[in-house]
């Protein structure tokens, strides 16, 4: 018997604090597997956000920083400029990246910063109790869009992958999901490609991962995975939006 | 001296102080002397601060007026285009570096009296970026590009303000002369404070120019 699946080295032994079925755990593991497979754990520095994954610094077994809300790309920018041979990744939720940190993410992409952003989109603020996010879908009920998000009142959900793909500085922009095994495999492939893009010095890379929040969606973990497929993917199409080869 | 004198140069090379002095001196001989303060880069220690002194001497000052004199916004005095085309003695004080000279680039297309115009590059070799030929020739090149005019001469302004002494001036001027030779430009003036005048006159003769400091706070002089 040989081991075909186990906890990657790039994760610590700490237990995740996430709710049952929350896909942060899957995404953490995929990043760690990529660091293991590329053998870059000791060369990598991760930056975690404010949001449910605020404690991610306890889970990744590499140098880690905790950022102020939305500012991770600015922190990563300076670190990468001063440590150009290191790998920098930020791990950001939709409130962090697409709302309060919209300025930082857009400019990091415009400058073509050689960093990798893992953007976890679960359509609401999980940490603070299910408020509306920039990525909340039209019609979706949250605690601050109690009548359902409407285009006239709250405006349209942000498509960050499409937005950032337009910037010349973006070298690899991809949207994936972790709602079923094939998509989990594709997500890992995308994260690895993003890190390789960084290694080749091609520019800014981001993987937007459609994720779940069973607790605030009021669904079971299995129902939540189906909700991603039925509601999120139609509005947030999966695929590569920008692939720079040199 | 032509009828339009433009003072360009690196940040802090002494342009404003020189423009004020040249304008005041001209005003002793002629009517219709105008000083245009076009420093859009930095409103600290600009020639607009000594408006009253100029006015008493019969020099008309055009600069960002009223509230804008300490405004942090570029503001070209509206009269300047007319002034450039009229018969007068016009002294133009530009802001520092090529950025400060951009305004001249805009104005240059209104100039009709080219033959009456002198454009000075003010050099103080004790300033950062002006102590080496590379820095000086770069600033000259960038200023000409930005101002869309050719520099016609150099004004040597070697000083360490209150700590200036004869040695500072002589060594500094030698440095400026070297730069000038390399740039193939004549050194038109060497400016020194009044206190050095007598001792330096025999050495430098007609290029020596006496300066009175108008922008330097007096309280600095013995603290």
């Amino acid at each position: 018997m040989k081991t075909v699946f186990k906890k990657p080295e790039s994760l610590t032994d700490a237990k995740f604090h996430y709710c049952p079925g929350c896909s942060h755990g899957i995404i953490h593991r995929l990043i760690a597997e990529c660091l293991d497979e590329l053998k870059i754990r000791e060369q990598t520095i991760g930056i975690c956000p404010v949001g449910c994954s605020v404690l991610a610094y306890e889970y990744f077994n590499c140098d880690m920083l905790e950022a102020a809300h939305g500012r991770a790309p600015a922190i990563a920018t300076a670190m990468k400029r001063l440590l150009p041979d290191r790998y920098l990744f930020t791990y950001q939720g939709d409130g962090d990246l697409a709302s309060i940190g919209m300025g930082e993410i857009v400019h990091a992409s415009l400058r073509g910063e050689k960093i990798t952003v893992i953007f976890v989109n679960n359509t609401l603020y999980g940490m603070t109790g299910g408020q509306m996010a920039p990525t909340t879908l039209l019609g979706q009920v949250t605690t601050t869009s109690p009548y359902g998000r409407s285009k006239d009142w709250e405006g349209y959900p942000a498509k960050m992958a499409e937005l950032l793909a337009q910037n010349e500085g973006s070298a690899y922009i991809c949207r994936t999901a972790v709602n079923d095994p094939p998509n989990v495999v594709k997500t890992k492939r995308a994260i690895k490609k993003a890190l390789q893009t960084q290694a080749r010095g091609l520019g800014f890379s981001m993987v937007e991962v459609l994720s779940t929040c069973p607790t605030n969606w009021g669904l079971s973990p299995v129902e939540a995975m189906k909700w991603v497929e039925e509601n999120m993917i139609p509005y947030y199409p999966l695929g590569e939006f920008k692939v720079k080869e040199e | 001296m032509g009828k339009i004198a433009v003072f360009a140069g690196g940040l802090g090379s002494g342009k404003s102080e020189l423009a004020i002095n040249f304008a005041l001196e001209e005003a002793k001989r002629a009517a219709g002397v105008v000083l245009a303060d076009l420093d859009m880069v930095n409103p600290f220690f600009a020639s607009r601060e000594v408006g009253q002194v100029l006015e008493r001497a019969g020099v008309k000052l055009f600069g960002p007026g009223g509230d804008l004199s300490f405004g942090d916004v570029p503001s070209i005095p509206a009269e300047i285009i007319a002034l450039i085309q009229q018969e007068n003695y016009l002294f133009i004080d530009l802001g520092g570096d090529e950025v400060g000279s951009l305004v001249m680039g805009y104005l240059s297309r209104f100039i009709k009296r080219w033959e009456e115009m002198e454009v000075f590059l003010v050099l103080n070799p004790y300033r950062p970026f002006s102590s080496e030929l590379a820095g000086v020739s770069k600033v000259k090149q960038l200023i000409e590009l930005a101002a869309r005019v050719r520099i016609t001469g150099i004004i040597s302004n070697p000083n360490l303000v209150e700590e200036t002494n004869l040695k500072t001036i002589i060594e500094g001027h030698r440095q400026v002369q070297e730069f000038a030779d390399f740039l193939q430009l004549p050194v038109k003036f060497l400016c020194v404070e009044e206190r050095f005048w007598d001792q330096l006159l025999p050495r430098y003769g007609s290029i020596l120019k006496k300066l009175t400091l108008h922008l330097r706070p007096t309280w600095l002089q013995d603290t």
Binding site: V4, F5, Y18, G21, I26, P181, P221 | -
Partner: protein
Amino acid sequence: MARGRVIFLAERCKACGLCVEFCPKNILVFDDHTINVLGFHPVMLLQPDECTGCGICGLMCPDLVIQVERE
């Protein structure tokens, strides 16, 4: 005969059921007779002989509960 083996770190299991849902052989269930330190009925393998060691359970598990071995 089983070609795979699944090892559960039962104390990490939050009984989200994703492995149960996605197991292609439908051989995973919750262990109603056990409650782990987190207060959940952890997942268990009902028919070990059927396991092919495909690893999909581990792939979908958000909590690093599962280790998979294969011949």
